[in-house]
């Protein structure tokens, strides 16, 4: 049985590991390399590492950090942040990373994904979409944002996801801005609508505060990627920093176990 993927998502800000709420207020939670070592020991399914500074400041990817992460990481690694060319993507893959993610640059120019896919294969191309519920009295549905949710796009996020899939994305990650850091559960409505919209593997990020939330997402969407930041770096009511990850038995319980299907 192909299992749902349960994926820690680590945010890098000024070289340190941070966790945000609603894409704001980054809180320092430790050293990224140390976190990778712990997730190795816990045999995490995959890892996503996002540099949240690069796109905003216009910086190029931090190849030194990526090389260190890749050398340490014994699970499939997806890296995002500051990638604007196929050459950069190829260089990152060559450092030992499995997948590269592109967000703002792909929304601005979907053909970038085609060029990256030609260089590294579409299975390694991930498009991350930052989405939030529209706010306001008569507002309905979801809207797409970029640059750490400082810019809003008019295009429908589900149509953009389809377009990016056509352009060369082998995976879509949908990140709920309003659920980020809230630990109150995923936006299941967003997840099921996105699942129905795209054919490539889908990973949902934003809102998980317990393993039960991951179970709810899997119930709603089946074999899906369930990514989380806060859940895997905080423990207890006071949000003490403690890197954690479910055991294989806990994971089997979340998806019913191989015998159940």
């Amino acid at each position: 049985m192909l299992r749902p993927r349960i994926i820690p998502c680590l945010l890098v800000h000024r070289g340190g590991l941070v966790k945000t709420r609603g894409f704001k207020a980054p809180k320092y939670v430790g050293d990224p390399i140390n976190a990778v070592k712990i997730f190795n020991e816990k045999e995490a399914d995959e890892l996503i590492v996002l540099d949240i500074d690069a796109s905003v400041t216009g910086a190029v990817p931090d190849y030194g950090l990526i090389a260190k992460l890749a050398a340490e990481c014994r699970m499939p690694l997806c890296y995002g942040g500051g990638i604007t060319t196929a050459e950069q993507a190829a260089r990152i893959i060559d450092l030992g990373v499995e997948k590269v993610s592109v967000s703002a640059a792909a929304v601005a120019d979907p053909s970038l994904l085609d060029r990256i896919a030609n260089a590294i294969g579409r299975q390694s191309v991930v498009a991350i979409l930052d989405v939030r519920k529209r706010s306001g009295l008569f507002a309905r549905g979801h809207e797409l944002c970029t640059h750490n949710a400082t810019r809003v796009h008019k295009a429908d996020p589900f149509e953009v996801a389809k377009a990016l899939q056509e352009a060369g994305a082998g995976e879509i990650v949908v990140n709920s801005i309003d659920r980020d850091g809230q630990m109150q559960g995923y936006d299941i409505d967003l997840a099921t609508r996105m699942r129905a919209a795209v054919k490539v593997p889908l990973t949902v990020l934003g809102g998980a505060g317990s393993l039960q939330h991951i179970g709810e997402l899997i119930q709603a969407c089946g074999t899906i990627g369930a990514a989380a930041g806060s859940l895997f770096v905080f423990k207890g009511p006071y949000h003490a920093v403690l890197i954690n990850y479910p055991s294989q038995a806990q994971k089997e319980a979340l998806y019913g176990g191989p015998e159940a299907r």
Partner: protein
Amino acid sequence: MIRVVDYGVGNIQAFLTMFKRLGIGAERARTVADLDDAQRLILPGVGAFDHAMQLLNQSGLLPRLQTLVHEHKMPVLGVCVGMQMLADSSDEGMLPGLGWVPGRVRSFASQGASATLPMPHMGWNDVVPREGHPLFVGFEPSPRFYFLHSYYFECQQPGHGAAKAHYGIDFDCVVSRGHVHGVQCHPEKSHHFGAQLLKNFASC
């Protein structure tokens, strides 16, 4: 010494990292001279079939690799697209494969039961090895490996199938013909399962 063939595609560093951790000597091979001390070969690969074949053909390494595999019977492990390159041909491309394990690479999208599933086949899946296969010595029951692919190896001779996985259909996720082995999944990124498989390859 294990030499990981570096012809321009594939995650060479991940193999070197894993072998270093296992205490097994491994280096990349960029030139024919690099292959002089090789006792075993890893043929990695990612991306499109033709792109990988083209780069391997242009690398200048192929004649020496053919000699090592055919005349010296050197054990070789193809991984992901490196496994698919062992076949005669691929539905993904026009170029011929190496033909070291008779078979054809097929698209999941062309098969009824897998055509409707998300593509690529991405994530951790069960691998069911043939009993007593040397690559799976010392394994716990139902090992899990990480997969990331849209095409799969279809063996011409069922005897070359060494392990199966299921994604809509059953497919050969490991093939073996004597000293030539191929794995579709990624042992270099499959935690202790992958480490055990690479350790077994280093001693089989």
